[in-house]
Symmetry: C2
Subunit: 300 residues, 2 copies
């Protein structure tokens, strides 16, 4: 059995390779040919050595039902395209105003704001394009469910709504419940979508889908708490991006409200919840187990 | 038989009513509840008395195959949601920097830039959500084709790519061929998608789809030329937005390059092409005919 680190690296390499092939003027064609600059900006915002955790979750959740990993890659790319678009838009001056991401200039720094807005827009469109194609899954009924699931996770009641609440929260005064609800949307919704999409790809029944949703919600929450902890405890060098900036930007996090130790205890509880939800599954769910444990202990 | 003006008004009223019901915190729900401010900005950018030409084209193209108008409404809403999102983003300071749209403050003026970016993002997601649902069409195989069609029209090789080329064109030097290719993407691609989506909803075979695509490309081009002519010839009062601004912004249009008279002649030829493509169809295509003639003669 391969280690979690090896599995993550292998998935990330598959995603990187597939995105590299996909994000070209030849492959992105429509009624017209995509402008070179737009494609370059889409590549800059996507081919950046990310951990590709969302495609990994799609793969692992589909794997619970025995689906070979190459058959869940396209759906994974779709979730990753949404994630990348959201980072490009979140980094904009009107939003979080970040100059660096993973040690590289953000898209609006490397290009300009207009190009960054459009590159994000086009990556979102690409996500749904990927899910609609036969390469994603042979059954159209499965493909539309994936479209609906990704839209639910990405939209006003999910990721984008969470980013809006996060910005509103900068004026202060969020309770811990409000922070939890905001984060469940901002980062949790897409992680939830990734796991559920994997389960749907694999042909999960209602009960299994329900269990994996419980897993996804706990794991997504754990992931966010780990991220908040890292922002406080890690050095900028280790993270490849500015740290301690949540506090400087007046961003509300649970760590800021209840402290590092209480947050760590909460993270351990959530990891327990995520693992408990996997009890009905056999060793096919070991990947999802390893990911939840990784969230609990990750250093970057 | 009702007049074109009546048909357009009736479709616009249906779209307005449906969007009004759809864009609420109750209906847009996901893993979380959408923030009030985000929903308000989405409403501001959509419920603005637009002509709703794209849903009309979906309806008319589906009508060629006998589909009742209420059964093509959801797909029409999806195309309109993409159109509205593109207007919100195009109006941003980093893009066209417009303060007014249809006599009202643009979304970033009424709210702020971050909210406008997110409202546009969420409207794009909503479009695909609408297409994925059973209310759109009972057959998932049709629904995924609609998703693919809209993504093709909206993405890097379509609408977004066209907006990128338009911005690049502000530095000047476009030939008439380059302007035509840019406009075929920026406005043409979504009009093409609307017509083809209507045809697919109606169950068009390959030949009919091909003919309607020829119609859509000619009509879309005619629509853009009429718009460019209006920018030169109409008063700001009649348009409810700033006019003459293409030239002031250094935007390249065919009118600027070949003049008003030559553009009018070209518009007449395109209208002829659009109507010719409809020859194989009977009176069920009268709606599409009226729309093409409206583009040729519209005053606002």
């Amino acid at each position: 059995m391969i280690s979690f680190t090896e599995e993550m690296a292998s998935c990330a390499a598959d995603v990187e390779r597939a995105l590299d092939r996909l994000l070209t003027e030849e492959r992105l064609t429509g009624p017209g040919v995509p402008p070179e600059r737009l494609v370059a900006a889409m590549r800059h915002g996507s081919l950046n050595g990310g951990k590709r955790l969302r495609p990994l979750l799609v793969r692992q959740a589909a794997g619970v039902f025995g689906m070979p990993k190459d058959r869940s890659l396209v759906a994974g790319l779709a979730v990753e395209a949404v994630h990348c678009y959201s980072l490009i838009h979140d980094d904009l001056p009107a939003m979080d105003d970040d100059d660096l991401r993973r040690g590289q200039p953000t898209v609006h720094k490397a290009y300009d704001e207009a190009t960054a807005i459009l590159a994000g827009d086009a990556l979102q469109t690409l996500a749904f394009d990927l899910l609609a194609g036969e390469d994603c899954h042979p059954d159209p009924a499965v493909r539309v469910r994936l479209v609906a699931e990704l839209a639910l996770g990405a939209g006003a009641g999910g990721m984008v709504g969470g980013q809006m609440r996060d910005i509103e929260g900068e004026t202060g005064g969020f309770s811990d419940g409000e922070i939890t609800r905001m984060q469940a949307m901002k980062t949790g919704a897409l992680i939830r979508a990734a796991v559920r999409m994997g389960a749907l790809l694999g042909g999960a029944g209602d009960d299994a889908l329900g269990q994996l949703t419980v897993y996804a919600e706990a794991a997504g929450r754990a992931f966010q708490l780990a991220d908040d902890l890292l922002d406080v405890t890690a050095s900028a060098e280790a993270m490849g991006k500015a740290t301690g900036k949540d506090a400087r930007n007046g961003k509300q996090t649970l760590v800021g409200l209840i402290g590092v130790d209480a947050t760590r205890r909460h993270l351990a509880e959530l990891t327990h919840d995520a693992l408990s939800a996997l009890v009905p599954f056999g060793e096919e769910a070991d990947g999802l187990r390893a990911t939840a444990m990784h969230f609990a202990s990750r250093e970057r």
